[in-house]
Homo-oligomer: 436 residues x 2
């Protein structure tokens, strides 16, 4: 059989990796797919760079629409990124009857519903394993491997840049700004790292995972997003003393009334496997009612790890190419007519435990007022640590770990504590998850 | 559409779990599969027990062949175990045109080739996610999620009983026999634990993973199998001092000349994630040339974790039921006509590092003779630790970590060292893997 014909839109890091891995492992991949997979055409504005990568093996054009218009192309791989051009091209490819493989989490987290509907109407597949956690087959695990389960929650380290920064902050005791510069120098952070360090990238991925886990539409606009830019080295140290690590987690959790969807720095017990995921690595923990806890770990970014996921999708599409469209794996794991309208909860209704750090005047009665306010809001204390003040020092740090509470109550309690004259600096609050 | 009709052969622990999870999550599962999945018939010799589980929801019979003969049944789930009856029933079910789901690793590791050929000829699916690592979707990851990769090696903690025993031996400093009794009392080890503690169960699973990873037929008879029964608490302690943990690993590794397939107690660096997998949990590390290292962690046994995998297979089969058989995922990941004849290597040709413990006379020249023998066989030393002998003690322990070597060379060197008059007890040798 003639190899399946693939058109690549964009041949930067991931595109180059995809071409290289497909070329290097073509025999192995053909043995698996039952058919060759061939990149026949590449579109990139930088035609010279594209030619340097693919040589004589594929036709290179500047205009992506030429790839889409080519009747010989079976699958279009979109590696341009972003919401604008990429969206138009994906929609065009679908309209032209092409299967689509994409690594574009931003696009799917925001416009996924529209894209999946178009693909379904046209009878083509849209595959996106590379959009979440790079080479780790987490989409497949959630969409196919864990279908027996009522998923209870997912918690993932799904942004390598921030995990690298947090690892360095902890192991070297350095501040955020210093480590960010080092990460940029080493290529772990981009020149403009905003999407990573502000948690937006992780929120895109968490949005996609939440949709697949719970059978709800993608709803990026409902996600609560906090990055790591305000995290201080002192809190990483205090957390460690208490037996916790701080990780930027993307969390999606089922509550009675809806779904928590949130990204924020989180304390997790140091003994958990995921707490020991260091550097630029990714890991996702999934809690299902039948399977219990499972964890998936690997490289979340980089040319070849991401290519690994892109090509896995190409093999899946190739294997299913002639299959009855009605029996394909649904895009969001659940059949489109069976999606749920369970709401994504506002952050005020989310339940977590908290770490609080209060800089207080070292005088009688302070602790009693602080704990009194917490009690008033029904927040109970799990552990309390008061730093011994140095000779002559007039203030000290009080660290409080709370039991689970509703975020709305905590916010009110924090506002009241902040108003105490004996609380001398802005209160640091971080969420804590046991992930048990 | 009418729910797909499932017949269950055997309703013990896993069968009961499968029925319960399917019942509890039926709505969620239908939303994913696009069609209901219904256990319509159950065969079990203990008809009373079966009726107690399924009530009025399924027809109960004593004879499995009644299930297979029923034209309404689409999928037969084999949960009997073992090679004998189970094999005959699986072959009959295939011949009757039923899709088969099985959790039977022993059956597949030994008779897989014959079973897969029959299934292919008859155009039915045989799915077996539950056969390896319980609820962890590792078969799916290897067969579909990592298809881009030339797999380099796989190393897994794939037997919960032995991992529980090793965890307890380490954390409590107890001997094997004591912990085994505790494990039996707690239900982590069976009354006859031979298959688990001798490594046979892990070897069945490693055999299946090796076939899928490298595209070779299942060849259980070529596996090198060592259990944990001879492991001594002293070596767990020495390993820990050197920064290692001892785990029973199932390892499959590609060498130039063939495939290493082996199960044995293994030293691994304590800082590796998999070294921290404790108790009855399972984890598999896969090294691919594109994706790098990925790890999959979860419960490897138990009623509902195993049911999770069985039902994932039921959903897969349901989704693919009407699909073109030529485009299904091949049983062993690679197309049957594309299997490789790469040999499974004899253990003598396997390359690993070693941990050696020699009880020696505490006198001059001993170390020089021992290290001389190693040098003679081209084995270089990575680390050496000599226990300080107590006042008046005439012998001591020497612990040696070697660099990678061929097992054949090491065996010769050990025989020579053992013959030294200053070596006072049988030399303990354990393999060490960096898993980097």
């Amino acid at each position: 059989m003639k190899p399946i014909q693939v058109g690549l839109l964009g041949i930067g890091t991931v595109g180059g990796g995809t071409f290289n891995v497909l070329t290097r492992n073509q025999e192995e991949i053909r043995r698996r797919a039952g058919r060759g997979i061939e990149i026949a055409m590449v579109a990139d504005l930088d035609v010279e760079r594209a030619r340097a990568v693919v040589g004589e093996h594929a036709k290179v054009v500047a205009d992506a629409r030429e790839v889409i218009a080519n009747p010989d192309i079976d699958i279009v791989v979109e590696l341009i990124g972003g919401y604008g051009v990429a969206k138009a091209l994906v929609m065009d490819a679908i309209a032209a009857g092409k299967h689509v493989v994409t690594a574009n989490k931003a696009l799917l987290a925001v416009h996924g519903t529209e894209i999946f509907e178009a693909a379904r109407a046209r009878g083509v597949m849209v595959a996106f394993e590379a959009a979440v956690a790079g080479g780790i087959p987490i989409i497949k695990a959630l969409r196919e491997g864990l279908t027996a389960n009522r998923i209870e929650w997912i918690a993932g380290i799904i942004n390598g840049t921030t995990n690298f920064i947090l690892s360095e902050m902890r192991s070297k005791g350095l501040d955020f700004e210093v480590v960010l510069k080092e990460a940029q120098r080493l290529g772990y952070a981009e020149a403009d790292p905003t999407f990573d360090i502000e948690g937006v990238d992780a929120a895109h991925k968490a949005t996609i995972m939440a949709a697949i886990a719970f059978g709800v539409p993608v709803q990026f606009d409902k996600a609560h997003v906090e990055g790591i830019t305000k995290l201080q080295a002192a809190d990483i140290r205090y957390a460690e003393q208490l037996g916790y690590r701080i990780k930027l987690l993307g969390i999606a959790r089922r509550q009675e009334s809806g779904i928590e969807l949130r990204v924020h720095p989180t304390l997790i017990p140091a003994k958990r496997l995921i707490a020991n995921v260091e550097g630029a690595m990714n890991a996702v923990v999934v809690q299902g009612d039948a399977v219990g806890t499972t964890l998936y770990y690997g490289k979340g970014a980089g040319a070849e790890p991401t290519a690994s996921a892109v090509i896995a999708d190409l093999v899946d599409v190739t294997r299913l190419h002639t299959a009855d469209p009605g029996n394909r794996v649904p895009h969001l794991a659940f059949q489109p007519e069976a999606l749920s309208d369970m709401p994504i909860l506002p952050i005020d209704q989310v339940r977590t435990a908290f770490y609080l750090r209060l800089q207080v005047a070292d005088e009688a009665g302070v602790l009693s007022r602080v704990t009194g306010i917490l009690a008033e809001h029904g927040i109970s204390i799990d552990a309390l640590l008061q730093r011994e003040s140095a000779e002559g020092e007039k203030n000290t740090d009080v660290i409080i770990l709370t039991h689970d509470t509703i975020e709305g109550s905590m916010r009110k309690a924090i506002a009241q504590m902040q108003a105490l004259p004996t609380v001398l600096a802005p209160i640091v609050s971080l969420r804590k998850e046991e992930l048990a």
